[in-house]
Symmetry: C2
Subunit: 490 residues, 2 copies
């Protein structure tokens, strides 16, 4: 296994090609590192400058008087060999090679890349790229990518064979407050390949879930073997692009990798326990589900809804994904019958027929979660209803006193109610060791989709749609089944 | 055809069952109407109160000294017949029957509903419901639903057989700033059925696109016949729930309607020119696409991307949906070759290989849009890149002066750049009468997804993902084909 601790957790970094030319990689990278809050030492290397953004610059790596853990290179392809030689002389073994102009640009670039590869192999260098978007390690606030994205800290680590797709995933994570561990754009994979990162993340204690965007894998057999071992330890969620003829042609022209037969490769990925996503958004949704909740022990789902229509949509989604909605057992039935109006649905999905009482929500969810008849609970329409209710109350008050303004105090109380309700859901997940998927009546833009309770092992995700919740539930169920089957075999 | 102008555009409304009990429908509805800004007259009818929220109340409809266009009833099922008789005596023909406790609750309720239906037929009453979420007409700021949702004005009119699903669609529209025309929750469809609303909306000049959430249709033949006529005039987007055995069982217990054979019905819907959505989110995404852009004349797509990976994903999505990416014609090729670095992709998708120059974006998109080789353009990664670029610049400035704060002025300039860029896209859509689908590099929470340019016929939607853009493009293409085939037949 490649030892990548120094690469991802360097105590000092030199940026070769650092510049104040705002649109250049040499500026974007160094500003991202410093402005992102990296606490280690940063050394700009610039041929024609004494300082870069006020930081003393060096003409060459060899001029830097201190030890360097990581070198990030942003200068043109033709300059790279010389810099690598300096790295070796300086005793640096970890390099992020941002520079483009290698194999992705044609024969001449390919020849330069081959030279880099030969040299790196001979000197046992860890090189990310060339043509990479860079790396991130949120734990040490190291944001060394070509885009100033600042995803927060968390357990999802990302390997992306396309910098742009990886970057977009990181931006979504930032916007939705989904925590990320490490990120690497694997670029042309001259030296370090996606399977190396996969293997490293499989042992990384700060990584709980691995997310991959793949276009093509050079050594399929080795990749799948590493994947098989990794998925026994932690979930791996992957999107394999190039699933159509058009897509794989586009992939070939993009990374130069042979896309191969998609169907066969995808089947092999599944057999290795990899969880397959269809789209980049699915990648992130699945990763955060796996990062947040326990796996369901079976496929029996209890559904609660504030309104019938949603129950129908959810039942459709469940059936299509091989999940079942068993009838309510006697004890659940009678407990519900005591709480709800006589015309409740009397079946699964349980339609709470618009009851606005928060205690009934809470109790009904617990009754379902406590029952051995269900492996997972989906409940629809409660989250967001507090704030919607507040709108009604405020409107009523405004009718009496038209000068009335929104009260931040009352808003705070309502937000607390929702927080407590979600805290309680986390409590139920822990108590019954069973996943619970809330789907919001309305997800307000200002609200986070992930709810965290201090000191809890699990988190809860507020889904925007039933289809997304059921997708995540299904994949968690399949992965649980996979692990069970593997255990049986050994 | 049912004449529903008075129902949706009343000049005066009586709310029977008006109350100040905050969680009651009689309070939620009247506060929603008044607080929502309805300009007509509102008369509370309340047995035991002289005023409701300060508005003079009447003991009975018959006590109101003025003409009433619309009566909204929120009192229990058992009181409804008497109120309907008062409506008739008062000369009111349009009623929104919020009250539940009818056929959805069992035999007794069914008997009451039958009585209402018989009476309404005899007296030719237009009744929405019973058991309806209510109605909305944004044009006159009439928000008469059980949830204080305030979607803005627009051309999408909504028919929902589930109040909750309809409500959620409206909330999404509100949150995303997607304009809505009229909304109706059809409830139990005792008198007015979804086909009546469909027929009315087909003639409604304020409705440009019709969105339907369906669980079951009583008179399939009539519904399809009306749909066939309507889709020749304007797009109808529908989600038919209950597509699995589980789902249709849930639907039956919810609305009591027979779900019937889903596959057959869906095929018939398609043959009637209805555009089918799979999920509620698709419903809204498709509706706003149809409401915003011209239809593509064929299935030939030109793709531009700021980074290769996205091009691959987009090519995959296109091929799976029956769209093609033709090679670049000679003139487009040479125009691009002049603008772009030598290692550009030289094919479709056109990879702009990370060029940060806004003028190159603009010119490349126009070169593609102008070409007869393409019926539609998808471009990826430009929107949002201005603000991301600003982050880099700000970080650079902060390195020189750490006390530097975000400058609202510079932010304003950057936002203007993006606005002008999107205005230009609308210009291209109009100039070449061809849809253009931008997919954002990053969609910031505070940004709207729909961009409007004063005085323009078209709008532009900023997609969050390639898959959503391609889905909309595909459905717009299929609908265009449908219309072409229908024309040929006549």
């Amino acid at each position: 296994m490649r030892q990548l601790d120094t690469l991802f957790s360097p105590r000092s970094i030199a940026v070769v090609g650092a510049t104040e030319g705002r649109l250049k990689w040499g500026s974007i990278i160094i500003t991202n590192i410093v402005d992102g809050g990296y606490r280690g030492k940063v050394f700009p290397v610039a041929k024609n400058r004494d300082t870069v953004y006020g930081i003393p610059a060096y003409k060459s790596l060899l001029d830097i008087p201190e030890k360097i853990d990581l070198v990030i290179i942003t200068t043109p392809a033709s300059t790279v060999m010389e810099i690598l030689e300096e790295c070796v002389r300086k005793g640096v073994g970890d390099i992020v090679l941002i520079s483009s102009g290698f194999s992705e640009t044609g024969d001449e670039g390919k020849a330069m890349e081959d030279e880099v590869i030969r040299y790196a192999r001979a000197k046992s260098l860890n090189i990310v790229g060339p043509n990479t978007m860079g790396i991130t390690n949120t734990k040490i606030s190291l944001y060394a990518t070509g885009s100033h994205v600042r995803a927060g800290r968390g357990g999802i680590s990302i390997i992306a064979q396309s910098g742009n797709v990886g970057n977009q995933i990181m931006i979504w994570a930032e916007q939705e407050n989904i925590g990320v561990g490490k990120f690497v754009g694997s670029g042309n994979e001259g030296i370090l390949r996606c399977e190396d990162y996969l293997e490293y993340f499989s042992e990384d204690p700060d990584t709980s879930v691995i997310l991959m965007y793949l276009e093509g894998v050079d050594n399929g057999r080795e990749f799948l073997e590493i994947a098989r071992r990794t998925t026994l330890k932690k979930p791996v969620i992957a999107l394999k692009a190039g699933r159509t003829a058009l897509g794989s042609r586009a992939a070939a022209s993009h990374t130069g990798a042979m896309a191969g037969s998609f169907e066969i490769f995808r089947a092999s990925m599944r057999q290795s326990g990899i969880i397959i996503a269809q789209t980049p958004t699915e990648l992130l949704a699945l990763s955060s589900a796996f990062d947040s909740m326990p796996l369901p022990k079976g496929n029996r789902v209890g559904v609660l809804t504030l309104g019938g229509g949603w129950g129908v949509i959810t039942a459709d989604e469940c059936e299509e994904r091989g999940l079942v909605l068993p009838p309510l057992p006697e004890d659940v039935y009678s407990a519900m019958d005591k709480m709800l109006p006589s015309f409740w649905s009397k079946g699964n999905p349980v339609d709470l027929v618009g009851q606005p009482d928060i205690n009934i929500f809470r109790k009904s969810i617990e009754v379902m979660a406590a029952s051995d008849a269900f492996d997972a609970i989906v409940f629809l329409g409660v989250i967001g209803s507090f704030k919607m209710g507040l709108r009604c109350t405020t409107a009523a008050q405004r009718m009496i006193d038209p000068s009335l303004k929104d009260s931040p105090e009352i808003r705070g109380i309502v937000e607390d109610m929702q927080r407590q309700f979600l805290d309680n859901i986390i409590g139920l997940i822990e108590k019954y060791d069973k996943p619970i998927y809330p789907v919001a009546l309305v997800h307000f833009k200002e609200d986070d989709i992930i709810h965290i309770k201090e000191g809890s092992r699990y988190k809860v995700i507020v889904y925007k749609t039933p289809e997304e919740a059921v997708l995540c539930l299904e994949r968690q169920y399949r992965y649980a089944q996979y692990l069970k089957n593997q255990e049986r075999r050994t």
